[in-house]
Symmetry: C2
Subunit: 519 residues, 2 copies
């Protein structure tokens, strides 16, 4: 059996049955093996950043790794940005990266590069396969590494000569059983419980799997019992929310807002989260957002058993999980007038389908959309976790493939969506159930605020020229049509509501460009 | 003066007056400085790979570096693929990469990464600025490093706190004078001349600046005098060609073709070129393409004085530069029938404007287009030099900015063009004089041959699904329109000729999708 076939068989045996790929010559044996080994679904993307972002979205919804397939150092380089995001989301991914045959590398062919050097900054586990006979155990090691809770980025580099060499017919190497995440000690739980009982100026910041339905019920129960303030980080992998589920606030993006949000706390207990930190540094602003002198105390690290820690903490303070509530009624969505941020958010909130998967790369509009949808039909909310824009559309691809029976609603800022707009084609090719709403303000609008925040007031023509996207305006419906996705543009509230309803009613992918003509 | 202003001023003082950028928060001071310091043209791109590829195209035509501006590790990662190509093209580029403020890095904020680690695999020179006061000398060192002949990739990482700190008002640090490339010793020239005089089985392979008008006249004169075989590598930074100029053949891409092309040579003399090597390794095929037992002898390394070496070699063999010839007449272009490869090439050849800059990322069609245009109006021919697809459209952006008075004709394969299709928007925004011809075969057509070459015959449905782009077909005119570029589709010879003429007559950017319906 050729190495490439051994690898595909080993991936499938290890529960990895989806491969998002952008192949080149060095990956041709892997591609050919897709026909010879059953059980692997190959999904073609037009750009590697779509493949890695899709693998992230897949892992978030399927709870297990997909693989990617990328071509040498430059192909992998194109995928790195969304590997950064996936790594910050702490999801499992198994990257397969083609490499030149060993005897070819010394000749410095045009596509030669230091593939391990390219992979290293964004891989938690990294190995170059050394023989076809050991490829199955390499693959099992990569999968196991990716599955270390909550999830890691594993990169296996596959030289072409190993892919095309016979490696025998041994059965796939067995996968090591997942190591259960460490249970937090009772001393740590008791210490946290004491903080919660002692005072009302305690915050409980939860992340990762604590934002699941079960985690939120436990954490909300603790907040009910102790009156602590419960909140989540700015960026999260997946939040279970919507009607009847406990709502949870997030730390704001803007530093001044975040500082105000956390003001008055003397303790921040961290369960599955890291201390709240500003995305960026600004002159005369703090990096750490909690009040000076306050204590940020890790109760459960993201790698530990977060749900058990919440459960133990609830027991220690005598709290019970908050029961599901009957949802509050949504306010009426405006059916006329300008497409303001509030109108847009209300219309989205109103029409969000039951059990939708919401992908939020809404950036400057996000803090309007998020609270507005708290009482929408129950849904999952996925965010780009690493702050590197251009993951929304790829995340939607992966989530839709993992959950074909659910509707994905991708709330995508316009400037960011352009980084990986090629994802639309994969939605069309695979018939994915994704409705994309382009939040079009024709600017990198976040950067207006950022210019001011760093002290660069009153931007001139040159600075604005590097921020505005209005000359010419992007024609998103045209771009969508070019990639095979039906799209339309809306410029007022009534038009947006009609367009959104049409798009959501359509099977397969659709796009609505919501052009905001008013703040 | 703030660090960011010092940096912009130092770039301009060092002759770097164009900046292709994709900024984020950490670059806001640099952006603001564009209004405070005169002389720098900021060019916004929608994706970092467009910025780096444009800087490559700019350097090829302007003969001096542009700068790029990228955002932290993930932004730089997006630009790496075309930095790989630019590095292989041996052009000068000065990358400015924003980084978090020093005091912010220790908090592992969401966008934190090992920026130096990301930059290293594709940078020849790399430094993180340490203070605003030394920023001007950092910048001068980066520019000087980039200008080491023929050109290098220099990456200067700019922490945000250094950009916003006052660094005094000292004048820009002086730029070190360029070091002249080393002149090849007369012993090496004489040894090469002996090889040329001794036998007819000698090949002269020339690259880099040897493919300029002057270099080609010298090399062709040597070939005329000695009957050696003259040729160029498969991929080249820039070739001066067209009517009246000496034609030059290139080593074919396919290994078997390349081996046949070089068969019979006992010596390959290398002037500004490396020994001919296959792009990829294949089972039972050689990596080195020259006949086994033949000698590949470097006469002038790409970093040495290549033109002087050719001139000295011509003197040593008593050759004179070949005088400009009157060009041969072009065959008539077909005005009806199917849009075959030959018809497409003939039509392009016929209508190529005088002094056009041709960007060739034509891949599977390239070896039809290249010979067909040998007697077109005089033009420059630019290729992606590193084999990493997705540089054609960005190269066209940069070349058009460097030479606004010339028409750029971008011959772009469809699959490859999709990697960086966002470049079309920058063409529209800047009103660039670029006519893009999309060579649409609705597949990664090169990979059909590559599948067979690696021994993977008769691809099945899964393999073909990772290679074909026909379901759905890409609507290039729609995508172009979405980015503000007028586009149309042609599906037969007559239609293509009319569309191409219309496009070439238009000022500013235009696009023709040439769908090949026959081989």
């Amino acid at each position: 059996m050729l190495g490439a076939e051994i690898l595909v068989r080993s991936l499938v045996a290890g529960g990895v049955d989806t491969c998002f790929g952008n192949p080149g010559t060095s990956e041709m044996h892997f591609i050919a093996a897709l026909d010879r080994v059953s059980g692997m679904r190959g999904v073609l993307t037009l750009f590697e950043g779509v493949a890695t972002g899709a693998a992230d979205g897949y892992a978030r919804m399927a709870g297990r790794p997909a693989s990617t397939l990328m071509h040498l150092g430059p192909g992998l380089a194109n995928g790195l940005c969304n590997l950064h995001n996936a790594r910050r989301a702490r999801v499992p991914i198994v990257n397969i990266v083609g490499e030149h045959a060993a005897h070819h590398r010394r000749h410095d062919a045009p596509l030669h590069s230091d593939v391990e050097g390219v992979a290293r900054p964004f891989s938690d586990w990294l190995r170059t396969a050394q023989s076809a006979a050991t490829l199955s155990s390499d693959c099992a090691a990569a999968i196991a590494a990716s599955r270390i809770a909550p999830g890691r980025i594993a990169t296996l580099i596959l030289p072409a000569d190993i892919a095309w060499t016979d490696g025998g017919d041994a059965p796939p190497a067995p996968l090591a059983a997942d190591t259960a995440p460490l249970r937090v000690s009772s001393a740590r739980i008791e210490s946290a419980a004491r903080r919660l009982r002692d005072g009302r100026n305690t915050g409980l910041m939860i992340g990762g799997v604590a934002l699941s339905e079960r985690g939120l019920a436990l954490a909300s129960g603790i907040a009910d019992a102790t009156r602590c303030r419960l909140f989540a980080p700015m960026s999260n992998t997946r939040i279970a929310r919507g009607s009847g589920r406990p709502p949870i606030a997030r730390v704001p993006f803007a530093v001044d807002d975040a500082v105000r949000f956390l003001a008055g706390l003397d303790t921040v207990l961290l369960v599955g989260a890291k201390p709240p930190v500003a995305f960026f540094a600004y002159p005369d602003r703090p990096s750490l957002l909690a009040p000076p002198g306050s204590a940020s105390i890790p109760v459960a690290e993201p790698e530990e058993n977060v749900l058990a820690a919440l459960s133990d903490l609830a027991d220690a303070v005598g709290a019970r999980p908050r029961p599901a509530a009957s949802g509050a009624a949504l306010g009426a969505a405006p059916d006329s007038g300008a497409l303001t941020a509030a109108a847009l958010a209300a219309i989205v909130a109103h029409h969000l389908p039951e059990h939708a998967i919401v992908v939020d790369e809404s950036l400057s509009l996000g803090f309007t959309l998020y609270p507005a949808t708290a009482d929408s039909a129950p849904h999952d909310w996925l965010q780009m976790a690493g702050g590197a824009t251009g993951e929304g559309l790829p995340l939607a691809v992966g989530a839709a493939l993992a959950c074909p029976e659910r509707k994905v609603v991708c709330l995508q800022a316009d400037g960011s969506g352009l980084y990986t707009c090629q994802a639309l084609w994969t939605m069309a090719r695979e018939g994915l159930n994704v409705t994309t709403v382009i939040l079009s303000n024709r600017a990198y609008a976040t950067l207006y605020g950022e210019l001011a925040s760093v002290g660069a007031q009153n931007p001139g023509r040159s600075a604005l020229g590097m921020i505005r996207l209005d000359n010419p305006a992007i024609g998103w419906p045209d771009i969508a049509r070019g990639f095979g996705v039906p799209g339309e543009r809306a410029e007022d509230a009534a038009g947006f509501e009609r367009a959104l309803q049409r798009a959501l009613a359509m099977p397969g992918p659709s796009l609505v460009e919501a052009v905001r003509t008013a703040p």
